[in-house]
Amino acid sequence: MLFSVLIYASEDFIDALTPEEHQEMMKKHGAFHEDTKTNKNFAAATKLMSTGTAVTINRDSDDFVVTDGPFAETKEQFMGFYLIDCPNLEEAIEKVKILPLDHGRIEIRPVEYFEGADFNNAERLVINAS
């Protein structure tokens, strides 16, 4: 079964991390990558840019309305997600324990439908799995 691993954290906090703390956090992500790739659980990894880059699109009768920023300001923002392939929830939970859990919040939610794509405009930021 495919599980999404949804990561929430406070951007204020992430911005305030010292380089050492940031490295420590990324080390855990690295360990998660390594583990899930070695054991063939890895499906996808996505890290989102800051919410400052976001726009929100709505429909107002016949018009599309594009507003700046995310729809609602909350203390925690959605930072990114992984997709992992695990036989059951139990194993997904075990995998997620590798990730940095000291701050923010991680939600595991099963995937109902997933389709990948080829990319035209993503340049070097997207690494396609072979």
Binding site: F13, T67, P70
Partner: protein, 424 residues
């Protein structure tokens, strides 16, 4: 949540908490002291229990209570505490209590007011930078002093004097109207850019601390963009900082010499920062309300779109510099536009145009370096050498000086060749 990285939680919460305390007390010194007290309390209590879900709310309650105590002590002889400054009961859940206070609309304005207080127009540039770094970013006086190569005592005095000036200027507490808001945004954006530029241009001081200045400026800009995504100039400011910062590893070579845009290894530019800067700029420009930061970001972004200096889109740059000259005329902008014109139409005409900038830029190293490079291109090696000599006189940093010396030695080399003049 585990009790880790406590000081990072404090750093992250600082702008928000200090802004709220500043509103509660109407006094920056009192707010800073209260924050200090609250932080000490937090370090003890968070170590024992856990970091609360909303550290900022927790700190505001603790800070308010500490501040009220101090206020009472101070005012026993003078006046009584304002009625609305009642301490919050410790037993009450501080997070519930303060959800209201942390309501988006309130803290947005609190932070804008705090930042604007720190870069109030009555303050001089260096005072604005020092106050923003001290109060909002929370750098220590020692750290700021080191960044500016002055004694901590001197920096302390600079900050104290700045605080006195803003107290004397009495910033009104009513809601700013649309025009005043725009002015505040512009002043705040300028101050953040000053901080960034102080780190970026590295006019002096150790590199490590300079890098910190850039990163603190970016952190403040990110905070503001998050609070005010609808302000295109703030997005423009962040875009500009990110794109400039993307070149940090290319701007100095292994020997610590400055490397100009022309000679930078573009593969070392940070593509993530460039991508973020470009999308921020695109989002900002959708508002069709351009300002100087958006245009400067667009100029920086134009460079990121060509793989080499030779492929630079000079036509686009010329348009952007022209727009910048209209919105915010300055001799430095004019100088940059002339450099672009030289790329398009050759150095002869550009050299002619340079004359009108001689007076306003007579102490500006880049002016002489540009003039020198035009002259060198025209084969006027001796005149070029003189111009670069002047550039040397006005260079502010070792890196800059070494770069000019290198150009000069190249000129000497080409001089020995027959038919010399063109720079290699």
């Amino acid at each position: 949540m585990q009790s880790v990285w406590l000081s990072t939680h404090l750093r992250a919460a600082r702008p928000r908490v200090l802004a709220a305390l500043n509103r509660a007390f109407g006094d920056i010194d009192l707010a800073e002291d209260a924050f200090q007290e609250a932080s000490l309390k937090a370090l003890k209590s968070w170590q024992q229990d856990a970091v609360p879900n909303d550290p900022a709310a927790w700190l505001i309650v603790a800070g308010r209570n500490a501040g009220i105590d101090a206020f009472r002590k101070k005012s026993r002889e003078t006046l009584s505490a304002p009625e609305d400054l009642e301490p919050v009961l410790e037993e009450a859940n501080p997070e519930d209590e303060l959800t209201r206070a942390l309501d988006q609309s309130v803290y947005r304005d609190d932070i804008l007011r705090l930042l604007f207080t720190c870069c109030h127009p009555v303050l001089r540039r260096e005072q604005q930078i020092a106050l923003s770094l001290k109060i909002v970013a929370g750098l220590s006086v020692d750290e700021i002093a080191r960044a500016f190569l002055v004694q901590p005592k001197t920096m302390e005095q600079r900050i104290t004097r700045a605080k006195k000036r803003i107290q004397a200027a009495k910033l009104p507490y009513e809601e700013p109207d649309a025009k005043a808001r725009t002015e505040r945004f512009s002043a705040v954006a300028n101050a953040i850019y000053l901080v960034f530029n102080e780190g970026y241009s590295a006019s002096q001081g150790p590199e490590l601390i300079r890098g910190t200045l850039c990163e603190e400026a970016i952190r403040l800009a990110r905070l503001l963009v998050r609070l005010y995504p609808e302000e295109p100039e703030l997005r423009g400011l962040l875009a500009l900082c990110l794109i400039q910062h993307s070149r940090q590893n290319a701007r100095l070579n292994a020997d610590g010499e400055a490397v100009t845009l022309e000679d930078q290894d573009r593969t070392t530019w940070d593509r993530k920062l460039i991508a973020e800067g470009n999308i921020l700029l695109e989002a900002a420009l959708r508002r069709a309300n351009p300002g100087p930061f958006q245009i400067e970001a667009a100029i920086a972004a134009t460079h990121t779109r060509s793989n080499s200096y030779e492929e630079t889109d000079w036509n686009e740059l010329e348009k952007l510099y022209r727009a910048l000259e209209v919105i915010r005329p300055s001799p430095v902008v004019a100088l940059n536009r002339i450099v672009v014109l030289a790329k398009m139409g050759g150095p002869q005409e550009a050299l002619e145009q340079l004359k009108r900038l001689e007076a306003p830029l007579q102490r500006y190293a880049s002016y002489y370096a540009v003039k020198g490079s035009f002259l060198a291109e025209l084969g006027e090696t001796e005149l070029a050498r003189q111009a670069f000599g002047r550039a040397l006189d006005y260079s502010g940093t070792d890196a800059e000086r070494r770069h000019v010396l290198k150009v000069l030695s190249k000129l000497d080399d080409t001089d020995l060749l027959p038919n010399s003049g063109k720079r290699p």
